[in-house]
Symmetry: C2
Subunit: 210 residues, 2 copies
């Protein structure tokens, strides 16, 4: 068939690696890094405890790898969602793009949702390998800020940064807290219809008609 050699041994090893990463991601999403147990992961993945040391070196290294994969998946989705925006868009369009990865993950469930929950948990207790992805993270913030400064030229830039962080934090909370379970039962359209006005309103700030 293919010119590539099969090498079933390496394939089996890769399968074990992937299974451990998937099980770790799922458990990280459910309970975070603290309550995580080596034997729990390996039982969930159908692997031996020694496989963790063999493939990743330690439990901590396995968690770091799983978290880094999740962060990279999330940041890529966020960059793509925000990068598609042109200069002159409405706040609603920005809000919809800002929330798209999370809305999609809530609707899709499974590993996408686990990625989102893990990223949200990492946002509360940042790991040590955080710096390596700080650049990508900063880029998503700059993407949002660039659109915001055009849409809201009268608002101080420092305040727009704060509002962006508020909006991101709100999304993180919604996906982590029990309300995320309720939202996951809804359709993507309904979630977006609920969420976009709140996000856009937070970006814009209270109108001065008080």
């Amino acid at each position: 068939m293919a010119t590539e050699k099969a090498d079933l041994r390496r394939e089996a090893g890769q399968r074990t690696r992937d299974g451990l990463l998937a099980a770790t991601l799922e458990l990280l999403a459910q309970r975070g890094q603290e309550g995580l147990t080596l034997r729990e992961i390996t039982e969930s993945a159908g692997a031996n405890v020694a496989a963790v040391s063999y493939h990743f070196g330690s439990l901590k290294a396995l968690c770091d790898t799983a978290i880094e994969h999740a962060l990279e998946r999330y940041l890529d989705a966020q960059i793509e969602a925000l990068g598609s925006l042109s200069g002159g868009v409405t706040l609603e369009e920005l809000a919809a793009a800002f929330a798209r990865p999370m809305v999609g993950a809530l609707a899709a469930g499974g590993q996408d949702l686990a990625v989102m929950r893990t990223v949200a948990r990492v946002g509360i207790d940042p790991p040590q390998g955080w710096d390596r992805l700080a650049g990508k993270f900063e880029r998503t913030r700059q993407d949002a800020l660039r659109v915001l400064t055009v849409a809201l030229p009268e608002v101080d830039e420092q305040e727009l940064v704060f509002r962006t962080r508020c909006a991101a934090g709100m999304l993180n909370w919604l996906v982590l807290a029990p309300i995320g379970v309720e939202l996951a039962a809804e359709s993507a359209e309904r979630i977006e219809r609920l969420l976009v006005p709140v996000l856009a309103g937070a970006f814009q700030g209270a109108p001065s008609l008080g």
Copy 2:
């Protein structure tokens, strides 16, 4: 002196109890319930490990007690802040009252801030004794909703409930995530000036000028 009898033994026991509760609250605020260690608490409180079993029965019971105390302090502050609002207030006034307990805790630091952080963590992973305080919690939600339905009669009530939860979640996130450390360094006035427009905007939703 006083007609009350001193009974220094009971007073010492009460001091140990309070010290354990204070140390537990501080550690709960820092790292949550999972990473918590019996010996860490007792060393921080200057007590013996057996004191936990003696005074509370178990580590879990100690945590539950500390969490319940924190929840009660938070809910009382929230009820008082929202209860002072009359029927016809602006969204900004509602937002300011909604955020007042958290802004105050950020400015005060210390145990007030620990209470707020612990409550926020509980919001993500609710304990089992949650139901006992569900009534008080529901009351704060109703207080906010009552004002919101007057201020925003054109918005569906179900959406207002969602926006209230979004706003509460945003505050919880701000106090839990690393941004909370930055905010705690600011003055209460500055925090409120940053926060109120975002909260009021989230309550109101995006204006239909898109």
